[in-house]
């Protein structure tokens, strides 16, 4: 029952495509987004549909490399490639695309992407707690609002922003509650299932509906867990926490390897996972744009400098999800996550856990090499447990 519920999330993208085809004919606008920094609430308040754009598959990368340098992160190349080859239906549907200056690669790529579609780029400050930076960010939100109003020919009303804020808050809460189920042992969701649910939710057409679907899955998993928790025959599997660069379906190779080797990815502290789920928009502000600005500036992306909240969140998640090990995934050429790995390593080692920093791309060329590393890390956990007297086999 839960399996079919999870699998039904894989259909969301297809469903959204056919519904968009219909409503586009009636004049409904679609706005494509790439990143968690994009305030979807403003798009919703403009009466348009915000939708996540493709960027997690290897397929369009060779086409992207006709324009972009090879030595660029796979996520940027894939995002651009999907647009350039017109293979992402949502890119095709988009009347406007919103980008953010989360890194040098993205901001320069967005300049080139303007040739394909109208792109609005939000300039992101790097400091999250300074007056001038915050003012800049509020101003960027106002500019986005003005751009949406102009391009979509609407007026965005405060009351509609508040309604959208409420809905997005509900959605984040529902996503968090599903993710939090994996604090239990055995984890109700495998890492791949968790990814399927969260990633697919990003392609939803109807946020109210996705909240219902998430709540339904949560209830079903809780019900199923009652039996699982009693079942002593289920072997313990090492619990791995994944952090670092975003992961989606198509770029899930590290999660797949971990689970093929007999462990579970119980949580993902990345922006396609848990990173933004604790952040609720505070509705006590007078101005909804101020409320949004406060929420979004707190996202602990490695593009922020310094970025202490990521380490606090990781620290907390390692405890809450009872992680046995941490894998920090860097897509090649993502300098900020690559460098921040130094701090992640310090934190994880201080907590006495094995940590693996993997630098790779979307291709399958290094699967064997990754496998040896992951397997060795799991052997370290197994070894600890053997010496502590409780044996479990992970491979």
């Amino acid at each position: 029952m839960t399996k079919s519920l999870i699998e039904s999330f894989m259909d969301i993208r297809g469903e959204t495509v056919s519904r968009m085809l219909e409503v586009k004919k009636k004049g409904t606008k679609v706005v494509g987004v790439y990143c968690t920094f994009c305030p979807n609430e403003l798009i919703m308040a403009a009466g348009a549909i915000p939708v996540g754009l493709c960027g997690t598959k290897e397929d369009p990368i060779p086409a992207a490399e006709e324009v972009l340098p090879r030595n660029l992160c796979a996520l940027i190349k894939s995002s651009y490639g999907f647009g350039a080859t017109d293979t992402c239906p949502f890119f095709n549907f988009s009347d406007l695309i919103i980008g953010e200056t989360t890194c040098d690669g993205k901001k320069k790529m967005f300049e080139i992407m303007q040739d394909l579609k109208p792109v609005h780029v939000m300039q992101l400050p790097h400091l999250h707690n300074e007056g001038a930076s915050f003012e800049l960010w509020v101003d960027e939100l106002r500019k986005l609002k003005a751009r949406l109003e102009k391009d979509l020919d609407v007026e965005i009303k405060d009351e509609d922003i508040w309604k959208a804020i409420d809905l997005v808050n509900q959605e984040k809460r529902a996503l968090k509650e599903v993710s939090d189920l994996n604090k239990m042992d055995p984890p109700p969701l495998s890492g791949l299932d968790l990814l399927t649910v969260i990633w697919s939710s990003g392609f939803t057409y109807d946020r109210k509906e996705i909240v219902d679907r998430l709540n339904k899955i949560k209830d079903a998993l809780l019900e199923e867990q009652k039996e699982k928790a009693q079942d002593a025959s289920i072997p313990y599997k090492p619990r791995v926490l994944l952090t670092g660069c975003p992961v989606g379906i198509g770029s899930e190779k590290v999660i797949s390897l971990v689970e093929e080797l007999g462990a579970n990815v119980v949580a993902m502290e990345n922006c396609t996972g848990y990173k933004t789920l604790e952040l609720q928009t505070d509705t006590s502000y007078e101005d909804p744009l101020m409320a949004l600005a406060h929420k979004y500036i707190n996202i602990p992306c490695s593009c922020m400098s310094p970025n202490p909240y990521r380490m606090e969140l990781l620290d907390q998640m390692i405890d809450d999800f009872k992680a046995d090990a941490v894998i920090d995934l860097t897509w090649q050429a993502c300098h900020t996550y690559n460098i921040e790995s130094y701090d992640v390593e310090k934190l994880v080692k201080k907590k006495g856990l094995p940590m693996l920093h993997l630098e790779t791309d979307y291709s399958s060329s290094d699967l064997e090499g990754l496998k040896v590393r992951i397997e060795s890390m799991l052997e370290m956990i197994e070894d600890d447990s053997n010496r502590a007297g409780h044996r479990f086999r992970c491979c």
Binding site: K349, P354, E359, D366, E368, G369, V372, R373, E375, S376, E379, M380, D383, D384, N386, R387, C395
Partner: protein, 256 residues
């Protein structure tokens, strides 16, 4: 109890058979079929030890070819196996630098051979046996002859980390009449620098063991000691530490 450890690497396949306190070792080139190389070693070991396959308690297989050998009772990664093998031979060792045919690794261990941390380079041929193999080719000598031919006092600077570029750099150096021995010394230093960088990042604790096929090369050992500014222990049969570790894992040594 008779146990066997096989380490099927990218270049050579190594096997150790343990029968009580007796050890038997066999090495063959891996060639194109890791499975056949494994079979060949198994045959060789049984012949040397004068025993039958049915008497063997178990076979642990490690190395990149570990998945292709069906007779394995278990597979374990090279990291864990090298750690066990070295800890058995040299209980004082805390850092292992292993340079093999297609990768190099640094492993930190405790006194019981437990892996505390590891790093691995297999993205690039720099700092591996492959680097030496390709560059030896450019010099027209066999890779096993490199250390005998080096002239450290005439050491040439090899700047290219990349194996392909290093090959062209060598051709350039030869054109400038740089001595072959000097170039070889430079190549040894290049490998040593690369792995030392990796080891420093992870943190080096003495004593240090240098293992893997490249440890057979005395020139790289010399260069590594120069870079690390401390002597390294090269096990007499440095190629076999992984296979030995694998065999030991089966004989119960893992539960120290």
């Amino acid at each position: 109890m008779i146990v066997i450890g096989l380490d099927i690497g990218s270049v050579a396949a190594k096997g150790v058979l343990l029968n009580g306190d007796k050890q038997y070792k066999v090495v063959v080139p891996t060639g194109w079929s890791p499975r056949e190389a494994g079979e060949k070693i198994l045959e060789g070991l049984l012949e040397k030890a004068k025993c039958k396959y049915e008497q063997v308690e178990g076979i642990i297989v490690t190395g990149y070819g570990r998945v292709s050998f069906e007779k394995a009772s278990r597979t374990v990664t090279e990291i864990s196996c090298h750690a066990r093998g070295v800890a058995y031979l040299y209980p004082d060792v805390r850092t292992i630098i292993d340079v093999g045919g297609q990768d190099s690794k640094v492993i930190s261990i405790d006194e019981k051979g437990k892996v505390l941390d590891f790093s691995m380079n297999d993205k690039c041929a720099a700092g591996t046996g492959r680097f030496l193999q390709v560059t030896a080719n450019a010099l027209g000598i066999d890779v096993s002859e490199m250390d005998k031919n080096e002239i450290p006092s005439e050491k040439a600077a090899i700047n290219s980390m990349c194996t392909v570029f290093a090959e062209s750099e060598i051709i350039g150096l030869l054109a400038q009449n740089t001595s072959k021995g000097g170039i070889i010394a430079g190549l040894h230093q290049s490998v040593a620098r690369r792995v030392t960088g990796m080891a420093r990042r992870q943190g080096i604790k003495e004593k240090i063991a240098f293992t893997g096929g490249v440890a057979l090369n005395k020139g790289v050992q010399r260069a590594l000691e120069e870079e690390l500014k401390t002597p390294v222990i090269v096990p007499e049969e440095c190629q076999f530490t992984g296979a030995l570790g694998a065999a030991l894992l089966l004989s119960g040594y893992d539960l120290l």
